[in-house]
């Protein structure tokens, strides 16, 4: 099986290298041919692995394939840990990636950076696979950084745009903050566990649960809490949890396929995956779990509210991604790791679907993304309309769709939890459901129904997107509907993750729900009458009333709740604060070091000052060389006298 796993990882990498280095030679067809072939092979091999591990029930594969170096007894290796969690992630990543590759043929058709784009997304697929298949923290970190790098490259793909450069720099910097915590966490693990291998660390973790360390003098903290929170800071950066979420909306500057692949389906879920993978560590620290829970709840609710005021269709979807990532984080916080991964999977499908559908709309609108300029697109783009609707229904958790099962499970799990903060989290996720439905269908109605607000030129050119665009939409719509019903039983309440995820008995909320679980249909009927579904329907109804029935209401509400609107419009001031405090502060600090430290002290005094000083001294001393003979003779006599008086007379 080692060969299969290596193929999964290396096929996209080889495709990326060929498309990247020889893109000009092989042309557009060659570039998308080779990368799609690589990713398709990778997808097929992932299916083989999935069948091997999940269906045939093969034991977990945990082997290193290459030893980079051994230093002081610590082995730095490349290795694969393939269990059910990994196998599931591999399938999701390669499937969405394959869809995005195909879709890109249509979306990027006329872009001069066509080959470069394919090289990047294949490289991303490689990096993400390295991340999820890692069996040690070093490789995890490698994948973590590599996906960050590719994300940076892709957000700034249109590098002539000022805003794209701003956005990719912002994404990179915010992720550095998270990575800093992540790296500290890994360092702490290396320091106390003396190994970077998952298996070693997880085995040794219970023994170290009582160890405390002093981070600040006089304050004793549990070692595992510190490690878990540090690792979670990394996850906050990558999975865009408050307050490190600010980069994700701006990342929509990248081409839409990227938004679908990286900033919705896969990379942003790396943090969720990582925490689930580290469940044996998190289960040992309730403090860390509470932190995770509260951060997730805040993100889920507050970011959803922001979705309501967005006018850019992609930004609306981006805020919804933030909110949904918050739901996953909440699930992690209440130890419902399986629910988090379940939601991750369903979200990957329906969010990729929504992004690609939004992209289809954007193509038709000639790259105008403002929903105020759309309306009535239903009759021009039926396939896009229906697939978008499926995505939207899944997103709001309409009964029967994939999103319903996963989100309802999370809400139930939070309800069942008694961790500190779970009461607040329950309220947040419940209200979040209403908000989600409101902003999703606000956008849906504004785009596809109502008056046609675009200009005449655009209207005459409106038409359904080509097959390369619509086929991935349809292919993604299928799992968006079905995967929930199929997967809920084994994933949440079965033994699927028994080997991959460890949940302490006291935290096992899913087991408590599972006692009443009779099957997907039972869950469905039970949920139909529950609060979440009612709230979702209320949200849809509100959106329908405000934006279709009484369009003038929106303006009235906006005027009435001026202050609230402004707060939302300023995105709670996170960006302004970062800009004013961190960005301006660092620039000020940099300027201080530059002007005072570098220019004045180092360049001015130390370097040029020394040189000038010596030059000055040289110019002075050379005056002693007067050219007058008696001065020379005098100098000799003085020298003689000094030597005599120092060494003979004294």
């Amino acid at each position: 099986m080692k060969g299969v796993y290596l193929t999964v990882v290396l096929a996209p990498l080889i495709g990326s290298i060929i498309a990247g280095l020889f893109g000009r030679k092989i042309g557009k067809t060659g570039a998308h041919g080779v990368t799609i072939a690589g990713v398709a092979l990778s997808f097929l091999m992932s299916l083989v692995a999935f069948k091997h591990i999940v269906i045939d029930g093969a034991p977990t594969f945990n082997e290193s394939v290459y030893t980079w170096l051994i230093s002081d007894g610590i082995r730095l290796e490349i290795g694969f840990l393939i269990d059910r969690l990994t196998a599931l992630m591999m399938v999701v990543v390669t499937f969405v990636s394959l869809m995005v590759h195909i879709y890109t043929i249509g979306y990027m058709k006329d872009d001069p950076g066509y080959q470069r784009f394919f090289s990047y997304i294949s490289l991303f697929t490689f990096s993400m696979l390295m991340l999820v298949m890692a069996n040690n923290f070093l490789q995890l970190f490698f994948g973590w950084e590599a996906v960050g790098l590719v994300s940076y490259l892709l957000i700034g793909f249109w590098y002539q745009r000022e805003s794209a450069i701003y956005a990719n720099l912002k994404a990179f910097l915010v992720n550095r903050v998270g990575d800093f915590g992540f790296l500290l966490g890994i360092a702490a693990i290396l320091m106390y566990f003396n190994s970077l291998d998952y298996a070693d660390v997880f085995a040794a973790a219970p023994l170290l649960s009582d160890v405390t360390i002093q981070v600040f003098p006089g304050v004793e903290w549990s070692l595992l809490t510190v490690i878990c929170i540090l690792l979670f800071i990394g996850a906050m950066g990558k999975s865009a949890q408050m307050p490190l979420h600010v980069w994700l909306p701006d990342s929509m500057e990248g081409p839409t396929p990227i938004s679908a692949l990286i900033h919705a389906a896969t990379m942003v879920t790396a943090g969720i995956f990582m925490v689930a993978r580290m469940s044996p560590l998190y289960e040992l620290s309730e403090t860390a779990l509470s932190v995770v829970l509260v951060i997730g709840a805040l993100t889920a609710f507050l970011m959803g509210l922001l979705g309501i005021v967005q006018n850019d269709i992609k930004r609306m979807v981006a805020y919804s991604t933030l909110s949904q990532l918050g739901y996953m984080t909440v699930a992690l916080g209440v130890s419902a790791y399986s629910a988090a991964i379940f939601h991750l999977m369903t979200h990957a499908f329906f969010k990729a679907l929504m992004f690609l559908a939004a992209g289809s709309v954007i193509i038709a609108m000639h790259h105008d993304q403002d929903i105020r300029n759309m309306g009535g697109l239903k009759k021009y783009m039926p396939i896009t309309y229906w697939t978008f609707l499926i995505g939207a229904l899944a997103l709001i958790g309409f009964p029967g769709t994939a999103g319903f099962f996963s989100k309802d499970a999370i809400i139930e799990a939070v309800h069942a939890s008694d961790l500190p903060g779970s009461g607040f989290a329950y309220l947040a996720v419940l209200l979040g459901v209403f908000v989600t439905a409101l902003y999703t269908f606000r956008a849906f109605f504004l785009v596809f129904h109502g008056k046609e607000r675009m200009d005449e030129h655009t209207r005459t050119h409106l038409r359904e997107s080509p097959l390369v665009v619509t086929v991935p939409l349809i292919l993604l719509a299928i799992p968006s509907v079905l995967v929930g019903m199929v997967a809920i039983g084994p994933l949440l309440f079965g033994e699927f993750f028994a080997d991959s995820i460890y949940v302490a008995a006291a935290h096992d909320v899913l087991a408590r729900i599972g006692e009443d679980f009779t099957g997907a249909l039972g869950f469905l009927f039970h949920g139909m009458l529950g609060m979440p579904v009612l709230l979702a329907l209320a949200g849809v109804a509100t959106a329908w009333y405000i934006y279709l029935q009484r369009p003038e209401l929106a303006g009235l509400i906006k005027a009435r709740f001026e202050l609230l609107y402004r707060i939302l419009d300023r995105k709670y001031g996170f960006d302004d604060f970062n800009e004013a405090f961190f960005a301006a502060g660092s620039r000020g600090l940099g300027r201080l070091f530059w002007r005072t430290g570098d220019e004045t002290v180092i360049d001015g005094v130390a370097v040029n000052g020394t040189a000038k000083g010596i030059g000055w001294i040289a110019a002075r001393i050379r005056q002693a060389q007067t050219g007058l003979l008696y001065h020379y003779a005098f100098a000799m006599i003085i020298g003689l006298l000094i030597l005599i008086s120092f060494y003979v007379l004294l």
């Binding site: 040189a611 010596i614 030059g615 001294i617 040289a618 110019a619 001393i621 050379r622 060389q625 050219g627 003979l629 001065h631 020379y632 003779a633 100098a635 000799m636 003085i638 020298g639 003689l640 030597l643 005599i644 120092f646 060494y647 003979v648």
Partner: protein, 478 residues
Amino acid sequence: MVFEFPNFVPALAEIFVLTMACVVLIVDLFLTERNRVITYLLSQATLLGAAVLTVSLHNNSTELTFSGGFIRDGMGDVLKVFIYLVVAVVFLYSREYLVVRKLFKGEFFVLGLFAVLGMMVMVSGHSLLTIYLGLELLSLSLYAMVAMHRDSMPASEAAMKYFILGAIASGMLLYGMSLIYGATGSLDIGVIADTLRMSPGDDMVLLLGLTFIIVALAFKLGAVPFHMWIPDVYHGAPTPVTLFIGSAPKIAAFAMVMRLLVDGLGPLHVQWQDMLVILAALSIVAGSVIAIAQRNLKRMLAYSTIAHVGFLLLGILAGTENGYAGAMFYVLVYALMTLGAFGMILMLSRAGFEADEIEDFKGLNERSPWFAFVMLILMFSMAGVPPFVGFYAKLAVLQAVIDAGLVWLAVLAVLSAVIGAFYYLRIVKYMYFDKPGDESALQSNFDMRATISANGLLILGLGIYPSGLMALCVTVLR
């Protein structure tokens, strides 16, 4: 006093050079201008013959003759061979320059040969008198050589200064020698050393004598504050004479220091070490710093010489066998580098154009990439950049100083070397990054080109493989 018939064999090379110098002097009288090249060839033949004699007489034993006033030993033989070599190259580099300026006269070569004889006597002198005799023979020849270009004001001025200051230094040397003679009762280096070893050396007369001798040696080497003559003489003298003064006599001066201070006054090491520390520190710092302010390449090289002398003193003052070997290595390498540097000036010069301003090297790379590269080797080596041999020379003496426990002095020396690197690299910068002011191709004859290339490559080769020469220095000083 019983007159004992001396053994002439150890001094055969000296006798040969003396005879040949006289022969050249006579022969030259009968030559017309056109045939002057015979003088040149005879001089080169003399040096070659002396080298053959010295090498064939070489053995590892030490021989004394002329009642103990003359010594032939391994160190002396090696130094003499290097003196022949260096002077031969000086003659070769100078020929074209002298011909073009109508200075190609027999005097230059005859005086040069007498200077060589003086140096040989200095190297082999084993009594205060012999050493003094050799020194005076050398000095008088040099004074005359500086003044050879009679119509040149700067040359005459330089000769005058050199002569007067040299006379003062010679006077001090004689005075110091007389005090030593008074204190020990002998002129023989070996006897002086034995006497000093018997009695403790805190005698005031001895110390005074030592101080005077050191001042005289410092003058001959050009150590601060007895260095004042060097820039003026280097600058004023015709370039071939500067080349002559700057190269071989330093080797002889090193030998004189070894004979007087180490062989003779070695028991007073503690006393003279302190004085040399002061001289070395001042020389290194002043030489490195003042050179920065120079625009004339000959003056710059004069200050660079002063700094190099400081480094040379580092090896000697350490007072260990490794230190002496390092100093000997340094002086030989220094002579080779000086040859190359002045050789480049000579090669670039033409009728009416001296090429001794630093700016004259601007854009040399465009005019002649190969010779720009040779100059680069020389400058890097002088600055002490590995892998050129100048680095190993500095390394050897610095190691000796550190072993002697004078770390601060080593640090000072290294810092000064960094400052010194500036003006060497400035020339490299001029050669490679500036536009030439003069686009004409280099004109010089084949032997000049070949020798200067070999000179540069030798610096590079010795840098890559320094252990052979180093081993030689260590062996002969044991």
